[in-house]
């Protein structure tokens, strides 16, 4: 029923002869693949391309990421949105931005952030359910979030009026630097923060 499109990782057919590869050789290949992939690449996709066991690739990637950490260079390999990504480190962002002449992209409004928070924690969630929590209509915030691809529709809820349900997207994970949804702090953790008993 969920109208999501499974992103199919393309498996590239390699015509190499099957020979056990050295770990150093694999590490090189993994690094190159993570660099070339335009989205975070999963260990499954890496294993498929390299025709190796996932467990082996897992340990290779982790070691690689660690070696980046140890080097303390300008780059990092990190786990995000269910895959691995190579990116610059936060420490150098001012210099990078000067080169790219980029300004930080437009931030989401307070209303959009709140709506997104409700969707992230309550998904799949309908518009009336969001209204109940926020106490305010969220139609324009939902439109913005859809346009920015931070949320996706998750089919209709089988209840009166069959309202559309929303959930977060892979873009959401990338945008907020999350490995997966379980990487979000638990909503109950915010309870202690907000209402000090007086």
């Amino acid at each position: 029923m969920a109208e999501t499109i499974e992103i199919i990782e393309e498996t590239v057919e390699t015509v190499e002869e099957k020979q056990p590869r050295e770990v150093a050789d694999l590490s090189r290949a993994v690094e190159a693949l993570i660099f070339v992939a335009d989205e975070p690449i999963s260990t499954r996709a890496l294993a498929d391309v390299l025709e190796e066991e996932r467990d082996l690739i897992d340990s290779v990637v982790e070691e690689l990421a660690e070696s980046y950490e140890e080097r303390r260079g300008g780059l990092q390999i990190r786990q995000i949105a269910g895959g691995w990504q190579i990116s610059t480190r936060t420490e150098v962002h001012e210099d990078v931005r000067r080169l790219l002449k980029s300004r930080p992209s437009a931030k989401l409004s307070l209303a959009a952030l709140e709506t997104l928070a409700v969707i992230a924690y309550k998904q799949p969630v309908t518009v009336p359910e969001i209204l109940e929590i926020r106490g305010v209509q969220s139609a324009s915030a939902i439109k913005t979030l859809l346009e920015k691809r931070l949320i996706v529709t998750k089919g209709h809820k089988e209840t009166v009026g069959r309202p559309m349900q929303y959930g977060t997207s892979k873009e959401f994970l990338i945008h907020f630097g999350l490995k997966d949804l379980s990487d979000l702090p638990s909503i109950e953790d915010f309870e202690d923060l907000v209402s000090p008993l007086t």
Binding site: E39, S87, S105, K107, A111, A117, G135, Q137, G177
Partner: protein
């Protein structure tokens, strides 16, 4: 790091509206945006340094209404959602003024009229904090850059399509299709006068006419609307009655002189 933050378009904490000065009934507002009525309510409670579990409802209600009045005076469209909470506050306030029912059993627990609102505020506050967490995370993420676009990225375009994109495309196709239809089909438009004449002929020829059947014989929405108006007009001006022989039966237009 601090200089960098100045560059950001907004600061989560500074963006909330703030009542800057108060002199008698005149309030000056530093305009910002409350994310909603619950946000405003939390702000007022905090402003009063009140305990959320023991909200001074009369005072908070007054301030809340005052704020809405100011919004109106400043010609800010007051969203209906703000009024819903205002109504709820007033209701709670009045319920709290009511004396305890003397006939109620002694040991009967009376629920605090504020409880429902407090629960809602507490729930909302969690998500407000979660929104702040997201804001902080995105600020950090904005300082991280993946590699630049390379040639092969273009060839993987399909990976980026979401249902939302497909819907957008589908809507465009539908819109285009609609236009085409509009150009191809010409319908004869029937005027109200023609429709009344037509209807009258049919009623007086047969003595009566089943409305449902008559409506079903029509094709366009426009014809249906015209027919509906025509029926009302005929009943008003001619000696024609609307009849229903039993509950839920079809409605019939009947010429009066035909018995």
């Amino acid at each position: 790091m601090h200089a960098e933050q100045e560059q950001y378009s907004f600061d989560f904490h500074k963006e909330t509206a703030e009542i800057v000065a108060e002199s008698r009934d005149e309030l000056n507002l530093k305009l910002g945006e409350f994310a909603g009525p619950l946000d405003l309510l939390l702000y007022l409670i905090r402003q009063e340094q009140a305990n959320i579990f023991d909200i001074p409802i009369a005072r908070i209600t007054d301030e809340y209404l005052n704020y809405i009045r100011i919004m109106k005076r400043l010609d800010i469209a007051v969203a209906a959602d703000f009024l819903v909470i205002a109504a709820q506050l007033i209701e709670i306030k009045s319920r709290m003024l009511l004396p305890r029912d003397p006939l109620a059993a002694e040991d009967e627990e009376i629920e605090d009229p504020r409880k429902e609102l407090v629960d809602r505020l507490l729930e909302y506050e969690k998500f407000k904090a979660a929104a702040e967490m997201l804001y902080e995370r995105s600020t950090i993420e904005h300082a991280v850059f993946p590699r630049g676009v390379i040639d092969s990225d273009e060839h993987n375009a399909e990976v980026n399509a979401t249902v939302f994109d497909i819907l957008t495309v589908f809507q465009k196709i539908l819109a285009r299709h609609k236009d085409e239809v509009k150009m191809e089909i010409h319908r004869e438009e029937i005027s109200l006068a023609d429709m009344i004449r037509n209807l009258k002929t049919r009623i007086f020829a047969a003595g009566e006419l089943n409305i449902a059947e008559f409506f079903e014989s029509l094709e366009t929405k426009r014809e249906l609307v015209t027919a509906f108006v025509a029926v009302l007009e005929i009943v008003r001006t001619e000696s024609v009655k609307l009849l229903q022989r039993k509950t839920f039966a079809d409605i019939i237009l009947k010429a009066e002189n035909s018995g």
